[in-house]
């Protein structure tokens, strides 16, 4: 075999006539594609169309490779040695200024009423960490006996504003965000992206190289790792597969698989991630799409409330709410949680449970009391006991700030899965309410500066005066945790 042979083959291939039926195939593929575009605005339906096309017999592998554009991670100059270690990957993620994640989100745990798989949702997330802007896709399922409803939303954050686009109900809402929330959002978004792509980061060392694949002329190592999931204890429930260039550390692709009870490993996400790429014009543009109902205008933007989602319960006696507002994890593993609990039917003044509380003392006897935490989704028994630190008040709501100190070694899995709340009712009779509530791992507080910026910042944000309670310092809180650990009851 020499160069001439190859050139001759290429020339012959070039001279080949295109068979008439290939013309027909091309026309049919094009017509089918155009028809699908006309029928729907959702690209996940395109995917469905492609998979069902009668003239297509995609190989099984093709089912998960609809978008595979190989983009490279810009490896930081700080990496003196270009040969990567698998544990370098989280570092690569954290060194990025722009992160672009493109791919598909699947729903392996659920099926359509007729047993078919639920079509995936396209994910196209942009994060401009340098300028505090992001555009994120979110997808959820509403499953009941009548069927499955896929809900798709997008959030564009830029500057003081956030535009929430509900693509399912076709409406758009503007929110105004404070400086603190902007900083927090940028930080959380980065963590979210990192989590979406890499799953349980701290377990990356579990990875094994399982093969190699050449993509667009570049050879990639394929690494595979399996992880314990949050629900089925002592069982590997997630599998992470990544394509990494051995020469440069470039990550080409990521797949997350879920071990579905009864049907085995199914794809949950298939992403490509690129770093420091040029952001296309208009990505962070806050325009209400045509055909969408604008709930408000930018000028009427609703102040964004700090805090996560809460839970509620109502019967003829009570109207209860419980809400973890924000949480942080200290470097010693203790958890700081701002939370609120109220019964709007109660005649007790809301400030009463907070009277006489002391730093490091028992928690306020709120209607539903988060008295402890435990690592979410695992069976290993570590219990975090709660102690009062301070409270703040905003717009009539009282927020309790507590520290939860673990009675054992904190588990690495909490970073990914957070903490389940242990609660009790300070009510008689007790309501027939079972609560499943998880507090996030939140930001890691490692220094006094972190504490002042994030923890005291959150307290100020959730205070009518815009100030944190006095006397709270990083050292004082750490000292309290240490004293609790040394105490005989702990």
């Amino acid at each position: 075999m020499n160069d001439k042979n190859i050139e001759e083959i290429l020339k012959k291939v070039a001279a080949e006539d295109i068979p008439a039926d290939v013309h027909k195939i091309a026309q049919q593929v094009s017509a089918d594609f155009s028809k699908t575009l006309m029928q729907t605005r959702k690209q996940h339906i395109l995917w469905e169309h492609i998979m069902r096309s009668p003239i297509t017999k995609l190989a099984a592998a093709a089912a998960v490779i609809i978008i595979t554009i190989v983009l490279s991670i810009v490896v930081s100059d700080k990496l003196a040695n270009p040969a990567y270690a698998i544990t370098d990957l989280p570092r690569l993620f954290e060194e990025a200024k722009v992160i672009h994640v493109e791919g598909w989100q699947y729903f392996p745990n659920h099926r359509m009423p007729d047993g078919r798989k639920i079509p995936p949702v396209e994910i196209d997330n942009w994060i401009d960490l340098e300028n505090g802007q992001s555009r994120m896709t979110g997808a959820g399922l509403s499953v009941d006996k009548n069927g499955v409803r896929i809900m798709i939303a997008e959030t564009i954050s830029s500057g003081q504003y956030k535009l929430s686009l509900n693509h399912t109900d076709k409406n758009a809402t503007f929110f105004k965000i404070s400086d603190y929330q902007r900083m927090l959002t940028a930080n959380r978004t980065s963590r979210l992206i990192r989590g979406q792509v890499l799953g349980v980061i701290e377990q990356l060392e579990n990875f094994k190289k399982v093969g190699q694949e050449e993509i667009d002329g570049v050879k990639y190592d394929i690494w595979l790792g399996e992880f314990l999931g949050p629900v089925r204890k002592h069982e590997y429930t997630h599998r992470l597969k990544i394509w990494v260039c051995p020469d440069t550390g470039e990550l080409a692709r990521t797949q997350i698989w879920r071990n579905v009870e009864g049907s085995g490993w199914e794809l949950e996400a298939d992403y490509e991630t690129s770093y420091n790429v040029e952001i296309p014009n208009g990505v962070f543009e806050m325009t209400v799409p045509q055909g969408y109902v604008a709930v408000n205008t930018k000028e009427q933007a609703i102040p964004m409330e700090l805090g996560g989602g809460g839970v509620g319960y109502s019967d003829d006696k009570y109207s209860l709410s419980l809400r973890p507002e924000i949480s942080f994890t200290m470097r010693d593993g203790s958890v700081l949680l701002g939370w609120s609990s109220a019964d709007s039917k109660s005649k007790t003044p809301p400030e009463e449970p907070f009277l006489g509380l002391e730093f490091g003392g028992p928690l306020p006897k709120l209607p539903v009391e988060i008295c402890g935490l435990r690592p979410a989704g695992i069976s290993i028994s570590v219990t975090y006991t709660g102690y009062h630190l301070a409270y703040t008040q905003k717009a009539g709501k009282f927020i309790e700030w507590s520290i939860f100190v673990p009675d054992g070694t904190p588990l690495a899995s909490v970073e990914q899965f957070g903490y389940d709340a242990i609660y009790r009712f300070n009510l008689e009779p007790k309501p027939k309410w079972t609560i499943g509530l998880t507090a996030e791992y939140g930001l890691l507080i490692e220094t006094a500066e972190d504490f002042d910026k994030w923890v005291l910042g959150a307290m100020a944000e959730l205070s009518d005066e815009g100030k944190a309670p006095t006397g709270l310092t990083y050292e004082r809180v750490l000292r309290l945790a240490e004293e609790v650990r040394k105490s005989p009851t702990q």
């Binding site: 291939v13 070039a14 080949e16 492609i50 595979t68 667009d216």
Partner: protein, 177 residues
Amino acid sequence: MEYSKRIQVFEKVRARYSVFLLSVLWKLTGDKELFTEAMQYALLGIWQHVEKLNSKKAGAYIYRIALTANSRAWRNRIGRDGELAKSRTNVDTDHGLLIVGQIHDKENKSEWVAMVRQAIARLPFKQGRAVVMRYLEQQDYKTVAEKLCCTEAGARSHVSKAIATLKSRLTAFIQQE
């Protein structure tokens, strides 16, 4: 871009490049099933990058889309062991006659041509594009150089590097056989 406008632009771009895609993807795949798959990936690529294809740099993007689509279709065809699924190759066996003294029977000749195409699908983008322009589209080096935004010598270099890469991969294949 508004959705209806996007569809209009897509149709315009598709019409403009339909002959190009038909010709190039068929030559690169030589197999109806692979061609169908590559064509679908190409259309999806056009849809995703329709704004870019409606700009002055469209020429460069369409090659990237076509070559990426071809490469994906081939990747899907390749089995876990890195070899072609033999039962699924279906190419014109006449091309195999050019292989001198290496492959004798008809089945292997067709497999050989498929291997050439597969090797093209794995070329780095610039080399792949140079091969497509120079051989499959039969453009002269001056045109190739203009399209690749390089000198004529640079274009020749891309082509010769591509041929060298193909040769080394095909030689490795022969040795394995």
